[in-house]
């Protein structure tokens, strides 16, 4: 089998056994990226030189019988929201164009220690704000299944590069569905872990109480493999959980008998695409065939998830993004300095002018919208009506989940209401775009875990995603159920034919 078609688990085994070298493996993916990235735009930066040097080093160590890490030689793509000391980190924003952090994110450091080989940084919605990848300052990502369509977002580049065989594994981040929704729209598997399971240190913050890093790969088994490396306590992140990391890969192959899966009837209300609904119902049937039982559960406040999310996230974002002001790093507007008396362009000082213009130039429209919304909702006189109100509803939403998990072990359902939509379809209507997060924001508001994996295709050949959500720290069960599903189906093995080059 060619490395392009191998699962990460198999590729790591092949590398370990010497069936393929790390350099060979890296080269295959780098060549694939070179051939296809022009049409998909999944990568913002590709580090061919660094990847090959790293791969050669791993090969040399392995040959010399020296110890190598558990992922030795596995190519990995990193969402450009993760700080890397040896590659630019831009968050797909003009604001951080060319920015080089002087440090590695905790997950990046863990992957390095595990001897993964970084291929490059993947495209995304600017500062992870968006659900279609059209908010990237460096052009949208195209869905490998249909280049006229969105891969989803915000981790669209990570999803598309895995779907397009440009990387066996990518790392994404999920604030309101940014791993699960693009995974669903691109036909791959993506895990959003429990809040605190993976360190956020070095993850460029969008909404700190919602952000979580997770793996995106072709299968649940591959996600399990990556989780063993990236999960775990980080004393440098106060919100990182000091809980031991299970051997996720050892916990996969267990029967689903007796596992209770909740089904939320409201998920199937008007607005859900019939083909998606059908795919999701069929997925329930597969899980039942595997021994799980399905039960209706209520999430009474689910319909308030979107308005709650679009207050909490922008409020936090308005503060998190204050640091991009042109003073210490990032974009600074030009034409400052001819400070003649009275010339402040309507600003109270040259400094304020620098702030306002740098930020206006550096941020794209969606980022500005959310900063404005969050600033407004936190401002004097509005805090209680908007931000505090949203936090109260957030408690109700979390309680819904905790109550539901009293009676079921998992909650299943759609990831998105529709398959991948056309690029440009929703760009004129911010609110319509916000609604694509309908099924995913609850997970983040509650701080629990969720996984998305393919459960079918539309007649036009677009992937349909299925989502499972679980109580805090129940990643083993999420991965086990998804893996069981993938042992019984082959949706996750399908490959898009749309991409510009024929496979070798």
């Amino acid at each position: 089998m060619q490395p392009l078609e191998m699962s990460a688990v198999d590729l790591v085994a092949a590398l370990r056994q010497g069936d393929i070298t790390a350099v060979e493996s890296a080269t295959v993916f780098l060549d694939r990226i070179e051939a296809t990235n022009g049409s998909i735009n999944a990568f913002l930066a590709v580090d061919r030189e660094g990847a090959l040097a790293r791969a050669a080093d791993i090969d040399a160590r392995r040959k010399a019988g020296k110890p190598v890490g558990p992922l030795a030689g596995l190519p990995v793509a990193l969402k450009d929201v993760l700080c890397t000391s040896d590659m630019p980190t831009t968050c797909a924003s003009k604001m951080l164009e060319g920015f080089r952090p002087p440090y590695d994110a905790d997950v990046v450091a863990r992957l390095r220690r595990a001897d993964a080989v970084f291929l490059g940084k993947t495209n995304m919605d600017e500062f992870a704000m968006g659900g279609s990848n059209e908010n990237s300052a460096f052009g949208p990502v195209r869905n490998p299944w249909d280049l006229s369509r969105t891969p989803g977002g915000s981790s669209g580049g990570s999803a598309a590069c895995v779907a397009g065989d440009m990387a066996p594994v990518a790392i994404g981040s999920d604030t309101g569905g940014s791993i699960r929704q693009p995974a669903g729209l691109c036909g791959i598997t993506g895990l959003k872990p429990t809040y605190g399971r993976v360190s956020r240190r070095g993850l460029i913050a969008f909404a700190s109480s919602l952000d979580q890093i997770g793996p995106m790969a072709r299968s649940a088994a591959d996600c399990a493999l990556i989780m063993e490396t990236i999960a775990g306590h980080d004393p440098g992140d106060s919100t990182s959980l000091a809980v031991d990391v299970p051997r996720y890969t050892d916990l996969l192959d267990r029967p689903l008998a007796g596992v209770r899966i909740g089904r939320v009837p409201e998920h199937f209300a008007a607005g859900l695409d019939p083909e998606v609904a059908k795919g999701v119902e069929e997925a329930f049937a597969v899980l039942m065939a595997a021994g799980a039982t399905v039960h209706d559960v209520q999430l009474p406040h689910a319909k308030y998830g979107i308005p709650t999310y679009y207050l909490v996230a922008p409020c936090e974002a308005s503060s998190n993004l204050a640091r991009y002001d042109g003073a210490h790093y990032g974009h600074r507007c030009k034409d400052l300095g001819q400070r003649t008396a009275g010339h402040t362009g309507g600003f109270e000082s040259p400094l304020v002018e620098m702030y306002c213009r740098s930020r206006a130039e550096g941020f794209g429209p969606e980022v500005k919208r959310r900063i404005m919304l969050g600033t407004y909702a936190l401002s004097a006189g509005y805090y209680e009506a908007y931000y505090a109100k949203a936090l109260r509803v957030r408690r109700l939403i979390r309680q819904d989940y905790l109550d539901a998990f009293q009676t079921v072990d998992l909650i299943g359902g759609p990831v998105s209401a529709t398959p991948a939509f056309k690029l440009g379809e929703k760009t004129d209507d911010p609110l319509a775009m916000y609604l694509v997060d309908l099924y995913t924001v609850g997970t983040n508001l509650a701080g629990v875990g969720g996984i998305s994996f393919p459960c079918g295709f539309t007649k036009s050949g677009l992937p349909i995603g299925f989502q499972l959500q679980a109580p805090p720290l129940a990643e083993p069960l999420l991965l086990q159920a998804a893996d069981r599903f993938q042992r019984l189906t082959d949706w996750h093995r399908r490959r898009p034919q749309a991409v510009g080059v024929a496979k070798t």
């Binding site: 919100t239 600074r332 949203a390 701080g447």
Partner: protein, 105 residues
């Protein structure tokens, strides 16, 4: 600012723009006023819920008391600290004058 959130005025939006340090042209202001009004109107649906007895939940974690020891770790070099600065003089970040023309020194 106006009391009815659904009717954000461009004056409200201009004030928020200054708070957020975002320069907004007249056209930006007009568009933003429309978009924000729509979004604010939408999120106002939370008002339907009676949450008088519900405490705010700012964070999904129940964790408390996370500390580190008072032990120094290596700092960055000045060159690393300044490596992405738009302007610096080798030891400090340089920014335009903090004070306006009317400000005292």
């Amino acid at each position: 600012m106006s009391t009815s959130p659904q009717t954000l005025t461009s004056k409200d939006v201009a004030k928020v723009g200054l708070l957020a340090r975002l320069a907004l042209s007249e056209a930006d202001l007009e568009r933003m006023t429309g978009e924000l009004s729509k979004i604010v109107g939408f999120v106002s649906m939370l008002g339907e819920l009676d949450t008088a007895d519900v405490a705010p939940l700012a964070h999904p974690l129940d964790t408390q008391n996370v500390f580190r020891d008072d032990v120094p770790v290596a700092s960055l070099s000045t060159a690393e600290a300044l490596q992405s600065a738009p302007r610096h003089d080798g030891s400090c970040f340089l920014v335009p004058a903090v004070l306006g023309d009317s400000g005292a020194a």
